[in-house]
Symmetry: C2
Subunit: 231 residues, 2 copies
């Protein structure tokens, strides 16, 4: 097992320092458990805007893990694993020497939320939902068959792939409304649109499968086995 340390997000985990060491010592004495490390999540620092300030604060947060690791080792306790990081911070956290493992799971999709709100760089958007135009009430307005039960707008609204000037302006339970611009004004009922998911976490849990494409070709269908299993 690894102990979760509260490095500032202030949600779960034991406080670093004396509390952490006491818990580590008590845990190591329990039968049937093997203490192998610690983890901490600097989730409260994802939205620090200035890159230098973000780096400084993340380093301070990781320092708490490093000091806890050193204190554990000083007591002869095992601390081989120091796990940290999320997609919104891993490009800084990975430079912290104490960290042995990153938890940047969402990074595989590189959502607009991470790239546009948290300064994650050098990646491409990886997750879209295929939607169909079901209504064209006005020249610059289209309604799609994908609402909040299909695609979460929480954290960041979806973007419209291949139509960067066209915007999602409203999402209700079963519908998504677009303000059309550029050549998207030629869309007609039945046309397909790819919506780039703003934040994958709340959308993947709504679906049963990923359709994995490379170069426009469907290569694999993967079951989302974990959905509905939370809590």
């Amino acid at each position: 097992m690894i102990l979760e340390i509260n490095v500032g997000l202030d949600r779960v985990g034991v406080l670093p320092g004396r509390d952490a060491i006491e818990l580590a010592r008590a845990t190591a004495e329990l039968d049937g458990l093997e203490l192998v490390g610690i983890m901490g999540y600097e989730g409260h620092l994802l939205r620090v805007e200035d890159p230098d300030e973000k780096r400084t604060q993340i380093e301070a947060s990781m320092k708490l893990l490093e000091e806890t690791r050193d204190a554990m080792r000083g007591e002869g306790l095992c601390c081989d694993i120091v796990s940290a990081g999320g997609t919104g911070s891993y490009q800084y956290t990975s430079d912290c020497p104490a960290v042995t493992e990153l938890q940047a799971g969402g990074g595989i999709f590189a959502d607009p939320m991470y790239q546009l709100q948290m300064g994650v760089t050098g990646l491409e958007y990886g997750l879209t939902v295929l939607a169909t135009v079901v209504s064209r009430p006005e020249k610059h307005r289209a309604v799609l068959d994908s609402g909040r039960k299909t695609l979460s707008p929480d954290a960041h609204l979806p973007l419209v792939k291949n139509h960067p000037e066209t915007e999602v302006v409203r999402m209700s339970a079963e519908h998504c409304e677009l303000q059309l611009a550029g050549d998207a004004v030629d869309l007609t009922i039945g046309d397909k649109i790819e919506l780039i998911v703003g934040y994958a976490d709340f959308t993947t849990v709504l679906h049963d499968h990923f359709f994995a494409c490379r170069g426009g070709v469907l290569e694999e269908v993967w079951e989302i086995a974990g959905r509905g299993k939370l809590q």
Copy 2:
């Protein structure tokens, strides 16, 4: 089939009047289709605060359906079904004489959103999620194992059943934070809490089963067969 008429929500459906009649006439001539009625959803009126004003506006919206029905019948077209209403409006829409069918599906759960934001009366909250206390960092703060992947805060935050003074103050992907008051300050890690779902639509799609209780006894387990099937 029934035709959807745009009665003001301005999302999907054909405009009432000439457009609707032309479409009805054209539809009735198609092989393999049987036109039996119309529907319209007054979803844009759910949040009208003044009850008299809400009734007046809903009646005007339903009048559009009634006139369309009369015009269809005048042309010898079938319009036996006039379907309308949602949970936030059905207590008014059900008084409109033209309406033959209500679509108030969410009403079965009578969510806080409907009761506290849309003036739906005379019902009890019907849907909760069972959560577990996983952290008690301070005397008046508890963290639960149910976040936005388990329970949507969209539209209305969850309420805390049996602890009306205790409030949900933050929800992240996997956690829900409570500001404790009253006897809830005695909660300890491992305790169970029932969270009253603020708006059922976005929460039921996250789960595979309903657990149906009567008088505190579990009587049935129902599969949520439609989840993940939208779009």
